[in-house]
């Protein structure tokens, strides 16, 4: 599953220019500037309410910033046609947002809906047909055996992998994930992040993942960005993230006004 759109394309997978987001008048993010080179794997760390989800939603085009611009492969996100966005960025939300009543196969295949017409979508849903890239994605994340199972019957770690496989089928140039390992035990968390890294590398994808655990960020990513109260506190390669840096990130939380 290579993504032709990223090969030799724009040097920056995504960029934020002076992005500000607020909820009901309360500032949640920014003003924030950030450039992520194509193919880089970035971890966002920081306490709850630091603005990680807002940043991811802005890059995914699900939250329009109050001011500033979001660029995907050099193109302003507000000028994109509806059909273009799924190929440029895809977000795996913290709740995963799968359809529990459908099988793993249909959930994974739904990543292709943006490229399918209605007739093909219906045929894939109602007839015993298979989309080969969906099987490939399921195999890639170790779900091939579970394809016919209902999503409602799966465990937490399996659900996470279904959501990842759906995103692989959608095949966006920038893969975004909001706390993908929050509900997993350490071994499974390592496993999933390793898988995300590997699939990102294979497709030349840019990867931005928010995490609670700085240890996982340092172990799996090219670049670690610390967020607090909507601002970037540090932006370092993992080798240079020191305990002091992390401490500043979490300790200062007490001094900032808390936000619901």
């Amino acid at each position: 599953m290579t993504s032709p759109s990223t090969n030799g394309a724009h040097p920056y997978g995504c960029a934020l220019e002076g992005v500000c987001i607020s909820y009901a008048g309360q500032p949640a993010l920014g003003p924030l500037d950030l450039q992520v080179p194509t193919g880089q794997a970035v971890a966002l760390v920081g306490p709850s309410g630091a603005g990680k989800t807002s940043l991811l939603r802005a890059v995914a085009g699900q939250r329009r910033p109050g001011s500033g611009r979001v660029l995907l492969a050099g193109r302003d996100i507000s000028g994109l046609r509806r059909a273009e966005l799924p190929g440029l960025a895809g977000l795996m939300s913290q709740r995963l947002d799968l359809i529990p009543q459908l099988s793993v196969r249909h959930n994974v295949q739904s990543g292709a809906l943006g490229r399918w017409g209605l007739a093909r979508s219906l045929a894939a849903l109602l007839l015993p047909l298979e989309h080969p890239p969906a099987r490939a994605a399921a195999r890639r994340v170790g779900l091939e055996q579970l394809l016919p199972r209902r999503v409602a019957d799966l465990s937490g770690g399996e659900l996470q992998r279904v959501a990842l496989a759906r995103l692989l089928v959608q095949d966006p140039a920038v893969v975004l994930a909001d706390e993908p390992v929050a509900s997993l035990d350490p071994a499974r968390a390592d496993d999933l992040l390793g898988m995300m890294r590997a699939t990102g590398r294979e497709g030349g994808r840019t990867l931005i993942v928010s995490l609670h655990s700085p240890e996982l960020a340092v172990r799996h990513f090219d670049r670690v960005i610390g967020l607090r109260a909507g601002r970037i506190v540090f932006d370092l390669p993992p080798s240079r993230v020191t305990p002091a840096e992390l401490q500043s990130l979490y300790e200062l939380l007490d001094l900032t006004p808390t936000r619901p």
Binding site: A60, G61, Q62, R82, A83, L85, P86, G87, G90, L91, S93, R95, D97, L98, I99, Q101, L102, S103, H106, S110, G111, L113, G114, R115, W116, L118, S121, L122, L125, R150, R166, Q170
Partner: protein, 268 residues
């Protein structure tokens, strides 16, 4: 010493309590308004004794049981036909009433309010009244009966189905949309599975209602259980009424069982 296990958290607004009281009084008064004639006259008591006595000697002769079986099948067939009309009206109606296929908010609100008013009008008229109206227009024939049931049921199905399609969790739908799914694709990959077994259960409940309605609407030319009961009552052959009622019960229970089976089997 010991803390009370329950405490009032907050007082209800006075306006709501007053409204509840008014409603209770209104319902109580409505019962008084109905009471007028004595319920059972002297002749009525004798008839009731005859009806009950006939319960001990129901007509179980083979030719009559054959009639009962035919009537049951006929009623079931009319119910199926009426449900087909109801679904043909109700499914497109549900999509129109809920506006789930319209992306633009302003266009959705406009179309939804118009269609909702139309269906509310159709639904407001009971199937019996529809039958009386259609009797005048089409004369006594089964098609009029099937339409009389199917039309208001279709409007009801449109409303309930429409609500079920709207009242599904928004986040999974948003995830599909952001993956590039169109409103039609989201309908089949999101809304319908999420509304799921609930939907099938409701449609079977409507089918059950259609069976009973089909038994009632014999005067419009729907043969079947209702028609046979009408004949038996006209001839004062109460011993024939009981097997017919039993057949209706069997039919309704069968639909209920089928419904449970389908819901447990799950959809897709």
């Amino acid at each position: 010493m010991s803390t009370p296990s329950l405490v009032w958290v907050r007082a209800r607004p006075a306006g709501r309590s007053l409204l509840s009281l008014l409603l209770v009084v209104a319902f109580a008064l409505s019962v008084l308004a109905v009471a007028g004639e004595p319920v059972a006259g002297s002749g009525g008591a004798k008839a009731a004794r005859e009806v009950l006595a006939s319960l001990l000697r129901p007509d179980l002769s083979l030719p009559f049981l054959r009639t009962v079986a035919e009537a049951t099948l006929l009623t079931a067939a009319y119910a199926v036909a009426a449900m087909t009309v109801a679904l043909a009206v109700g499914i497109p109606g549900a999509l129109a009433v809920s506006g789930v296929l319209v992306r633009r908010r302003s266009a959705r609100l406009a179309s939804v309010s118009v269609v909702r008013g139309l269906f509310a009008t159709v639904r407001a008229i009971h199937e019996l009244v529809w039958a009386l109206l259609l009797l005048i227009i089409l004369g006594p024939n089964p098609i009029a009966g099937v339409i009389a049931i199917g039309l208001p049921y279709g409007a009801t199905v449109a409303r309930v189905l429409g609500e079920r399609l709207t009242d599904v969790p928004a986040a999974p739908l948003a995830a599909l949309t952001s993956a590039g799914s169109s409103p039609w694709q989201t309908l089949f990959y999101g809304r319908l599975p999420l509304a799921g077994a609930d939907l099938a259960g409701y449609l079977f409940y409507r089918f059950e209602c259609a069976v009973r309605a089909a038994a009632v609407l014999s005067f419009i030319g729907l043969g079947g259980i209702g028609f046979q009961i009408q004949i038996a009552l006209a001839d004062l052959r109460f011993e024939r009424v009981w097997p017919l009622l039993a057949a209706l019960l069997v039919l309704v229970v069968a639909v209920d069982r089928l419904s449970r089976y389908v819901r447990e089997a799950g959809t897709v």
